[in-house]
Amino acid sequence: MRVRLSTAIAAAFLLSGGAFAQDAAKPTDPQIAHIAYTAGQIDITAAKQAIAKSKNKEVLAFAEDMVRDHEAVNKQALDLVKKLNVTPEDNNTSRSLAKQAADKQAELAKLNGAAYDKAYVANEVAFHKAVNGALGTLLIPSANNAELKSLLETGLKIFQGHEQHAEHVAAAMK
């Protein structure tokens, strides 16, 4: 079980990291907005699956936090792109993030009980780690618009909190 879990973490991390690494070129603001929004939607979808499947109080509270926060951030993102008159642009990073997330969701759907809880939380740790890494090293430095940059920076603070929260929930389940 231990081996399987760590393999799952490594796989999730590599996959998510891979999605971000795919586009070596600097993303444009419309692409950055699309990637950030997509990452948020992925986490909301994963959390909704957790709310439907899990019976663990800590996992449910965490999942509800994810829905609440990512919906709030994505609402801000939509308001901002509207204000800036920017149309988010689909791109390879967004597409590969969405594809990997759909695969992961199908994989998680087969699990139940404690096995599901562990796999969901482990993936949340890995996913937030990958997204935070991408925000810090690629998306924030590449953003041109000051307001977009600032929203991404706020997002990074929030998601770093999520990463630590997920780690805490994971540690409590061991």
Binding site: D69, T154, H168
Partner: protein, 106 residues
């Protein structure tokens, strides 16, 4: 004359009402990017804590087994301090967010 007496009585009453909370203060704690600041505040029983949430997210100021204040995004919320003690509080939605209120007796 009776009007004057009435006005005097009124002033006394208003004065009496106003004089009670003179010592009570409102202490602001600002929330910005998931941080309570100042992190620690010193207060007295009867004082009010006002959390001013600048974030786009909802937060709480919660003491396990005691109070639980909801602070909506971009809004403020208050709590009148009722008992002395040192209280560590946190945000239920973001457990990394922590603060402390040291409350002295009135």
């Amino acid at each position: 004359m009776s009007l004057g007496r009435y006005a005097f009585a009124f002033l006394v009453i208003v004065g009496g009402v106003n004089s009670a909370p003179v010592h009570a203060k409102t202490i602001q704690v600002v929330i910005d990017k998931l941080v309570f600041s100042p992190t620690q505040v010193n207060a007295k029983v009867g004082d009010t804590i006002e959390w001013v949430n600048g974030d786009i997210l909802a937060h709480t100021a919660t003491v396990r087994g005691d109070w639980d204040v909801m602070i909506a995004a971009k809004k403020s919320a208050t709590l009148v301090l009722k008992k002395a003690g040192s209280f560590e509080y946190y945000c239920r939605f973001h457990p990394n967010m922590k603060g402390q209120i040291v409350i002295e007796p009135e």
